[in-house]
Symmetry: none
Subunit: 220 residues, 2 copies
Amino acid sequence: MRTADGLSQRQERILAYIHEFMHRHGYPPSIRDIQTDLKISSTSVVAYNLKALQEKGKLNRDGKVSRGITLPNQVAGAQPINHIRYHRVPMLGVITAGSPLPNPEDTTTTDHDVIEVPAELAPEDKLKDVYALRVRGQSMIDALIDDNDIVLLRFQETAENGQMVAAMLLDENAVTLKKFYHEGQRIRLQPANTTMEPIYAVPENVRIQGRVVGVLRSLV
Amino acid sequence: MRTADGLSQRQERILAYIHEFMHRHGYPPSIRDIQTDLKISSTSVVAYNLKALQEKGKLNRDGKVSRGITLPNQVAGAQPINHIRYHRVPMLGVITAGSPLPNPEDTTTTDHDVIEVPAELAPEDKLKDVYALRVRGQSMIDALIDDNDIVLLRFQETAENGQMVAAMLLDENAVTLKKFYHEGQRIRLQPANTTMEPIYAVPENVRIQGRVVGVLRSLV
DNA sequence: CACTTGACAGCACAAGTGTTTGATTGCTAT
DNA sequence: ATAGCAATCAAACACTTGTGCTGTCAAGTG
């Protein structure tokens, strides 16, 4: 059977295995590594298929040299260094996504730590105002934000309609994660959960503490 | 003479050579590569200094394995900050969450980027098998995974029912993001989207490429 | 001075690893 | 059938490469 690339199943598996091996070890596999882990009966079969893969441009080989396999799309060296973009963001605590609760110093989340964030989620130019909070509650579930997710917020005191913000209700000394709508003389804080009701407040009672710009979630 | 790192000049040269070699070839040098190019008279001298470098934490070696040298992750220029937990994960490309599309292995997206990920999303002990893919399509929307999100996968070839996996359909050479269910003699790949239908396949035609362990999303 | 230690040299061996050769299997076109 | 080809297998072979051993040399050290 051939696949869309014109590679046999075995060739696909070998190619995937090389990727995975290099990713895990930092150097290429030997022919016998491939043979053993893929349960191929002979080294010559591996060599045969490596040659085929090479002719199809899927990989390069430095002849005779042990582990001399390189993958064309890959930056040489399995441990790239410089061109990495990541940003350091402070993890300030926990935010309730359900009903506003007084800022909880609570529980095990004593991580006033710092977390690293992919550059994609925190643009360089505005980075210095970004911080992270762990979410408690499911009021934002329709916005794809679940309990225990980590949200990234950019500090700002104003927001436009529909933006997701961390809003503090001054009279309750409580912070909550909601969508923001300024409607005439009042502000509506809308959960993204069809089973929950919005909160209405006067502007003087609401202080915006930041806008959500990113979400991280672990499924482990 | 010793340098600031407590390394001898020869050790400095060897270390620099390994860096340069890996960058040039995509795989580590052998002891004799180092010996020849650095005009060292004996392989044992190289081995001697490699051992010293290893004890000083400048590199790792997989014993007996040829070219089994790996360099520990180094953040260029930056001092290691201990209390921060983050991990480097390779960004390998794009995965379709909707109908399976041919593996975009060869497109411009496979630039083998690397992203930084909070330690919470990628536990240290299993980190070596974690990689990232960008999601295309909305078939996993009910699992809180949206178009353009980044998913973190841990490489594994087996899965348990209900786990979310990257599955390759061999006959189509296509990879897709689905929930995995083994049902008797067939495998069901179930989208997390009530409007979409599952895919059924025989086990021989399905290869699991990893299990989803984390999600990153930008709302900027 | 005898002794130790670090660094190096030379060489041989053994293990790791790529290659080759010949035979086998299954399929297809003739 | 027969021939031809792709893919595979098994085993042997040859090169590559890590390791071990022995020795040298210079610089300490008591």
